[in-house]
């Protein structure tokens, strides 16, 4: 039965039903009443609505389960979720049986929650919530699953995965776009198509949000990208409120007329959403039932996506930034061990600013739990950087974890021609979607000739096809071996590129910098080889985008190869400012003026030698770049600890005092802290070179309590405490009490800082304190947040209320700092 719907769609136009909510309201559903309860309370009304739609000519009725999920129907509530879903399917099934034809779509709407990190719903929990409904609905006899009204691709992914993993029914998905063609979360049509097709939906499209008139443009764009049947279920029109009622700008006939145009444009499955009635559907089916069904042709586009946009891998080369990789980078390795995500994100942002289109993510270090780290890093990166990611690992567990929680269609690095590799990687690509890098090597090693590599490429394509993965989702890596050990190495690679393009009609990728290994002036070789490779059809290059020379090759090649209309990009990059090549759009605007800022008068308080502006002054004025430079110069003549104790600490103290007096304000306090941090980094690097380290005063655990997602206050405290040499363990936001207790006990932390913004989350703070008292009786607890007061803080059992960030520093100093202060001298002594 269920597979028949797909056959049906191949043969003729197929029709969905229309709205449910407005019909229920007309039948007496009250404001605030949950519509799904009517499956049990008024099954005859629900059945009647389904039947009316079938009478009107629709083929697929959707169950009344839009909001049926565990969040809205908690266990132990008045209604059993499972019973309700079963009843919903039974009602629809019954109507189909009476009519003698039709299909039942199990309807999955949004959870009503925003996913982490911006909301509080975990991705895995979202999957679990949907799985529960799909399991009940498929057992009750649904013919297909319809994931609909999704305005967040990430949530749609959770629902689709849940559907695929708990039943074998066809899965359809429709998203809500606005008039600009964007999802509420910012994704465009192309990224949505890449994501949904990657996940293997059987049909996809658009519903709700707009009327058919406004949807036409969206449908047009959809049809440009899509290879599966297209669904269009608009609202009855654009709504407006008239005498307390919702009315639409077009009538039933107007609706059907525009839907006919949409059918002619190429939409395959048509129906309605909010405000549409059996009358809308009747007029629609009357106009369209005998129209010829033309299915979208396979587009064979190679696309990866982030949550906002797709990146097409084609003739115009794509730059994949290679810097998020610990190989040969000691600071990166340390950042991974410390879970210092700030450092890793900075690497990502810098590459984006320099023109990367995709970021490679490799976190492989022998001593770390790679699957866990990969998941953590991917989650963080995708929450602040809108570039697609390339998941780079040889650990298939890490690969799967990252692919599962990735918000889009990723690049995967890599598979190769070995049986075992293909057997492990291809099922993941098929299940989660992705474009995979395929190395042209196999059990026999790397073939010396292009012919050998092409043979492996053919084998990879053929095996992928057995898994249902098309050629467009594979990038052949022709492999480059160092030219210093094999003088024909470059030529073999280039020949492979050409032949993949010309003989196999495939796409290629290269890690370009291998070629120059062991040679001096590597960038010279790299950039020249890069140009040669692009000329031979290279589609994607894994390079360091922060390298000016490489990007010069890229921009000049594009100008010369007719890929840069009127040399626009080239001129934008290099016009006027010869050789600058440092666009830094994101950060550029963020840089504080170098010499701006009212004098603090600090220079008079701390003499800084003959210098015009001492390090202390740079810190007071919040001049990050200058503080960095000045610290470098100072280190040439003075000892690290002398600089810290006599320049930096007094400056930080001064700024802190002025802030407390109310003559300096939060932005300045933080700019100073950032300037100090930049200076500390220089000093730390030098000390590390000498094998020294700056000792920490002690551990402070920070967390925004369970239920609270506003963590800016906690983040401010963190920045300041770090400057005062505390080892801050930042547990993030929405942190359960157990986790805070566990970390405190394990680390024997002397001080915990908790933040909560709203009255609704203070109880969770109180609970955390109670548990800390029980399991970590030694610990001091400081609290802060908008609704807290001295008195309130005492009521919930905190040791100290901190009205601002400086107050928390002062408290830390009194609890830990002062008694540990001699460690500064100790540090010097061991130097």
């Amino acid at each position: 039965m269920s597979a028949d719907i797909l056959k049906e769609i191949r043969r003729r136009k197929v029709f969905f039903d229309g709205g449910m909510g407005s019909l229920l309201q007309a039948k007496g559903l009250k404001a605030g009443e949950l519509p799904e309860t009517w499956n049990l309370l008024h099954p005859e009304i629900i059945k009647k609505i389904h039947r009316d739609y079938l009478e009107a000519g629709c083929d697929i009725v959707t169950t009344n389960t839009f909001g049926a999920n565990r969040l809205k129907y908690p266990a132990g509530g008045a209604f059993s979720l499972e019973d309700m879903v079963k009843a919903a399917v039974a009602n629809a099934r019954e109507a189909v049986r009476e009519k003698g034809r039709g299909y039942v779509a199990l309807d999955l709407g949004p959870t009503g929650k925003l996913l982490k990190p911006l909301g509080d719903l975990d991705f895995d929990d979202a999957c679990r919530i949907y799985r529960e409904v799909v399991t009940a609905g498929s057992r009750a006899g649904a013919d297909l699953v319809l994931v609909e009204t999704m305005s967040d691709g990430y949530e749609a992914k959770a629902a689709i995965l849940a559907a695929k993993e708990s039943c074998s029914l066809p899965v359809f998905a429709t998203m809500v776009f606005d008039q600009k063609g964007k999802l509420l979360t910012g994704g465009d049509v192309e990224s949505a198509v890449a994501l949904l097709e990657g996940l293997g939906v059987d049909a996809l499209g658009v519903n709700c949000g707009l009327g058919p008139v406004q949807m036409k443009e969206i449908v047009k764009e959809l049809l440009r990208y899509v290879s599966v049947p297209v669904i269009v279920n608009p609202n009855a029109g654009l709504p407006r409120s008239q005498d307390g009622r919702t009315v639409y700008d077009i009538d039933e006939e107007g609706f059907a007329a525009v839907m006919e145009e949409i059918a002619d444009m190429g939409a395959n499955v048509l129906g309605g959403c909010c405000g549409t009635t059996p009358d809308h559907i009747r007029r629609l089916t009357e106009r369209c039932w005998d129209k010829e069904q033309v299915l979208p042709e396979r587009k064979n586009r190679t696309v990866v996506s982030s949550y906002t946009h797709g990146v097409v891998i084609g003739r115009d080369p794509v730059i994949i930034g290679e810097r998020i990789n610990p190989t040969g980078k000691s600071r990166f390795k340390q950042a991974l061990r410390d879970h210092n995500l700030e450092y890793i994100l900075q690497e990502g942002v810098t590459q984006q600013d320099h023109g990367a289109h995709v970021l490679d993510v490799n976190v492989g270090l022998p001593e770390i739990d790679e699957p866990r780290m990969m998941e953590e890093v991917v989650k963080e990166l995708q929450s602040v950087i809108d570039l697609p990611l390339q998941i780079d690992t040889s650990d298939t567990k890490a690969m799967e974890r990252a692919m599962r929680i990735y918000n889009g269609k990723p690049l995967i690095n890599s598979v190769n021609g070995k049986e075992e590799s293909m057997r492990e990687v291809f099922p993941l690509v098929k299940h989660y979607g992705g474009v995979v890098v395929a190395l042209a090597l196999d059990e026999g090693g790397i073939p010396e000739t292009a012919e050998g590599r092409i043979r492996i490429a053919r084998k990879i394509y053929a095996t992928a096809a057995e898994y249902g993965i098309g050629k467009e989702d594979i990038l052949i890596d022709g492999l480059c071996l160092t030219v210093s050990s094999d003088s024909r190495g470059a030529l073999t690679t280039l020949e492979t590129l050409r032949r993949v393009r010309d003989e196999l009609g495939g796409k290629t990728i290269l890690g370009v910098s291998n070629i120059s290994f062991g040679l001096p002036q590597r960038e010279l070789i790299n950039s020249t080889f890069f140009t040669m490779a692009m000329a031979d059809g290279l589609n994607a290059a894994i390079i360091n985008p922060n390298s000016q020379v490489m990007m010069q090759s890229y921009y000049s090649f594009r100008a010369l190869a007719d890929l840069d209309g009127q040399c626009g990009d080239y001129i934008r990059m290099y016009g006027g400012q010869a050789g600058s090549g440092d666009p830094a759009p994101g950060q550029g605007s963020a840089k504080a003026g170098t010499d701006r800022g009212a004098g603090t008068g600090f220079g008079q308080i701390v003499p800084s030698g003959s210098r015009q502006m001492g390090l202390g002054d740079c810190i007071c004025r919040g001049l990050k770049e200058r503080a960095h430079e000045t610290a470098k110069t100072l280190l040439e003549e003075r000892e690290a600890l002398d600089i810290i104790n006599n320049e930096m600490i007094p400056a930080l103290d001064y700024v802190g005092k002025e802030f407390e007096k109310g003559t300096l304000f939060l932005p300045q306090l933080l700019m100073s802290a950032e300037a100090a941090k930049a200076a500390f980094q220089v000093i730390k690097d030098q000390m590390a070179e000498k094998g020294q380290s700056r000792e920490k005063k002690g551990i402070v655990i920070l967390a925004t309590v369970k239920g609270d997602i506003h963590d800016i206050g906690k983040n401010i405290v963190k920045v300041l405490l770090e400057n005062y040499s505390y080892e801050v363990v930042d547990l993030g936001k929405d942190v359960p009490p157990e986790k805070i207790v566990k970390e405190t006990v394990e680390r024997k932390a002397p001080l915990v800082g908790l933040s909560a913004l709203m009255t609704t989350t203070v109880p969770s703070m109180e609970e955390t304190i109670v548990r800390l008292r029980e399991y970590a009786p030694w610990v001091k607890v400081m609290v802060g947040g908008a609704v807290l007061t001295e008195k309130y803080a005492r009521t919930i059992g905190a040791d100290r209320y901190c009205r601002d960030a400086m107050a928390s520093v002062n408290y830390a100093e009194s609890v830990i700092g002062k008694k540990n202060l001699p460690q500064y001298e100790k540090g010097e002594g061991t130097a």
């Binding site: 910012g186 304000f665 932005p667 239920g707 009255t759 989350t761």
Partner: protein
């Protein structure tokens, strides 16, 4: 660009900001203007006072004394919701990890931008209603005075704000995206100078963030 309000949210009170902070505030506004996606929705509901100090707006009831004062002489309410979208939250999050000073200024600028946006939409509504001979009270949000957050699910539910403009609630009734506002706007036949506004209705008169125009 509302630098004055941005600085107020940063706790400047009556103090002057230095030039560097002003530049930062302006640059944050520009970035936010490019990034934030402003959306709003509203619907009118009949208002009744069934007694016992309760206001009933069809989709929920409340016993908030402050709101009742604000809604005196009103026959209907407009439920209102507005947001700067997940895009504003993402931007603030990005800088929280990269440059905290910018994150706090963006946070303040976003709050100011959202208030301005609500003011602008409310002004349009005010004019529209005035043509019909009706007068609007200042908007009043859950969380102001004794108007509890408990009514958020019903208010957002009635507006279908999740589906239409993407405002969701956490288990603890915080809105996500965080740069979002919900409010009740009283509709009355009588023009009245209503003094029960948001910030000013709060009992904490010594608050550094208090509006004082």
């Amino acid at each position: 660009m509302n630098i004055k309000e941005t600085l107020r949210y940063l706790g400047y009170g009556r103090s002057q900001a230095d030039e560097q902070t002003l530049h930062l505030a302006e640059s944050c506004w520009r970035e936010l203007e490019e990034t934030a996606v402003k959306r709003c929705c509203f619907r009118e509901y009949p208002l009744s006072f069934p007694g016992g100090g309760v206001a009933d707006m069809g989709c929920f009831q409340t016993g908030s004394k402050d709101l009742l004062k604000n809604l005196k002489d009103c026959q209907a309410v407009i439920l209102f919701a507005a947001t700067l979208g997940v895009q504003a939250d993402s931007l603030i999050r990005r800088y929280s990890l990269l440059r905290m000073s910018r994150a706090v200024v963006l946070q303040a600028a976003a709050a100011a931008m959202l208030e301005d946006y609500c003011d602008q939409v409310n002004e349009e509504l005010r004019r529209e209603y005035q043509e019909k001979g009706l007068f609007l009270r200042p908007r009043f949000s859950p969380g102001y005075g004794d108007f509890s957050l408990e009514c958020q699910p019903a208010l957002l539910g009635a507006l279908e704000a999740g589906k239409r403009i993407g405002i969701t609630l956490t288990d603890t009734l915080l809105m996500a995206p965080s740069k979002s506002v919900t409010a009740v706007i009283g509709v009355s036949l009588a023009e009245r100078n209503c003094t029960v506004k948001g910030c000013e209705s709060c009992g904490r008169v010594d608050c550094v963030y208090r509006r004082n125009d």
